[in-house]
Symmetry: C2
């Protein structure tokens, strides 16, 4: 595997890890954006970055990717604002691999871009990262370089869906597709902390997604989980409300947090998001949450957009990342989930 | 377990098995309806039965359940039409169980009602059965008393969803929640036959529901299935079109038949149906398919409604059952799936 060339980062952007996060929505937020992530990169990422940059005068972007894409963003921005743009160039040149090695593919370059963007957070170059790249690469590199919170084995991708009652947290939506039951219990704890911190819900209601509310309904995983969830130490005063069904995700009446495996969650999310995109949301059309997911349980703010994300979706993902950073959401969630246990410094950093 | 009392069936309704199905939408269709199925039984079943009965002058109903519920239907019907109503009374009386045995519960009575309604098809008292009762009881009793087609180990529940492009077949939606991969391959064959026979689609496109279209995406089951589906002998000129995602179920652009496990299918179905009920369907509002599923791969016409079905949903389920009988759909699907293999008479009956 060839290695990305890293360069052209303004020295003034470098910060050490552990910088306290600001607490105002107008505070500076330095977001690394993966220019090669997604099915329509870099065009839609360039579009989304420009939208977010123009909407938020305190947003600083670290553009991670090939120089041509970064140049398109710089060229579209008033030079008076160039101080808010930095570039982390990622290129793979032919000379770097041996004659017998396979030539690097476009996917290799895209994956290198994901890793560099995540690495920028670990290195203190950015406060958060946004990528529409390969989910598995994002999850694995975030777990490796940002660290996982104690007890988190597989960080869950966590989405917010509009519902008739408002909005709800759905996790996992694509990280753990064959989860052990212990993963799901931890995901319930992480989802409860997210609802408490990001949605400011007191005592969130956590439901387990299954196919019927009678005892014993569901597949092997779902039949094993209820006693574990009933016994789980849910943070933030959250309570387990039992089995819920697909319709309850649309109404939002019975749970604030819906926990499931990453396979089922991904399929339901893509189905409902597509339905709402065509038909309108089930609740307030002015309060539709961003179509972006947060990776929970890692030592930094990581926002993941769909591979098929549009420019506005990318812009919403960047705004979400800035908001989460400014709210110091990771630190607050750690306080809820890890409580007063000893947290190794290298496992939780960058947001607190 | 106490036994239902069976009685008051008009002798003229008895037919032997193997009666050829009629071929006209105005031909007589004798449908057994489970009066105790569903969360709001018998009220919504009574409502649905009356709606269907009044809409279709060639519909004969075999009312299966407690006499009070059947009496409410008879009382609401013009006596001139009473010849189209028969009653199969199901009661559990206290004297039938020993002093030490637990008293029969409402669920025991409801399950007895399901079995009697399915049994009425096996006995030639009805051409098809409609129930909103316990799915597992319906599936097991249908498999036992109607028989399964050769090669069918778990009969799949098969739903039709509206899509932006028209409609699509989704299976399984709740029968096989932890399927072996061979089940899913058979379900792909059954779904293709359903699309060809009931939707009259030439060369149906069959897709496998998963979380990404790249090679190797998905959980253990989904990673194992593509080579088996590529090699499968799909009937009716159907072709396997590969991996599809949740959004493709809403658009309907890439597949006519979507195959998945019964857990994922049930959750996606309930989510999308609830979204469409609130927001309107994604396609033609005058062409919304009934919110009812058909049990495929058994020797008779079995239609399953949601536990939460409304009166209009029940009426649509009854109309679907009559339509499937009048089209001789089971016989036509058997011709596609079983081809010219020897079919034991006791395995395929009642519709062909």
């Amino acid at each position: 595997m060839t290695r990305p060339i890293v360069g052209r980062v303004a020295p003034g952007l470098r910060r050490t890890t552990g910088t306290p996060a600001p607490d105002s929505e107008s505070a500076t937020a330095r977001i690394a954006v993966d220019l090669l992530g997604g099915d329509h990169a870099p065009a839609v990422v360039v579009d989304g970055a420009l939208r977010a940059f123009q909407a938020d005068p305190s947003l600083h972007l670290l553009l991670v990717g090939p120089p041509e894409a970064a140049d398109r963003i710089r060229a579209a921005v008033d030079p008076a604002h160039h101080a808010r743009l930095s570039v982390l160039t990622i290129e793979i040149t032919a000379g770097e691999h041996g004659a017998d090695a396979p030539a690097p593919t476009a996917q290799d370059l895209a994956d290198a871009c994901v890793r560099a963007a995540v690495g920028a957070v670990a290195d203190g170059l950015a406060d958060a990262v946004v990528s529409a790249g390969n989910t598995a690469v994002i999850v694995v590199s975030a777990a490796r370089v940002l660290g996982r919170w104690p007890g988190v084995r597989r960080p869950p991708l966590t989405a917010v869906l509009p519902s008739a009652a408002g909005r709800l947290v759905l996790l996992d939506v694509g990280s753990a597709v064959d989860p052990d039951k212990e993963f799901v219990v931890m995901h319930a704890r992480l989802g409860a902390a997210f609802a408490a911190v990001v949605h400011e819900i007191a005592a969130p209601r956590v439901g387990l997604l299954t196919i019927g509310t009678e005892q014993g309904k569901g597949d092997r995983l779902r039949r094993a989980l209820p006693p574990l969830l009933e016994a789980a130490d849910l943070p933030a005063g959250a309570r387990y409300v039992g089995l819920i069904e697909g319709n309850d995700v649309v109404t939002g009446d019975v749970a604030d947090v819906v926990v499931t495996d990453g396979f089922t969650g991904n399929i339901l999310l893509k189905g409902l998001e597509t339905a709402y995109a065509r038909l309108g949301p089930p609740g307030d059309p002015d309060a539709v949450p961003p179509r972006a997911a947060m990776l929970l349980g890692v030592g930094g703010t990581v926002v993941v957009c769909h591979g098929a994300a549009s420019g506005p979706d990318l812009a919403a993902g960047l705004a979400l990342a800035a908001h989460l950073h400014r709210r110091a959401a990771v630190t607050a969630m750690v306080d809820h989930v890890v409580n007063d246990k000893q947290i190794p410094h290298n496992e939780v950093s960058h947001d607190g």
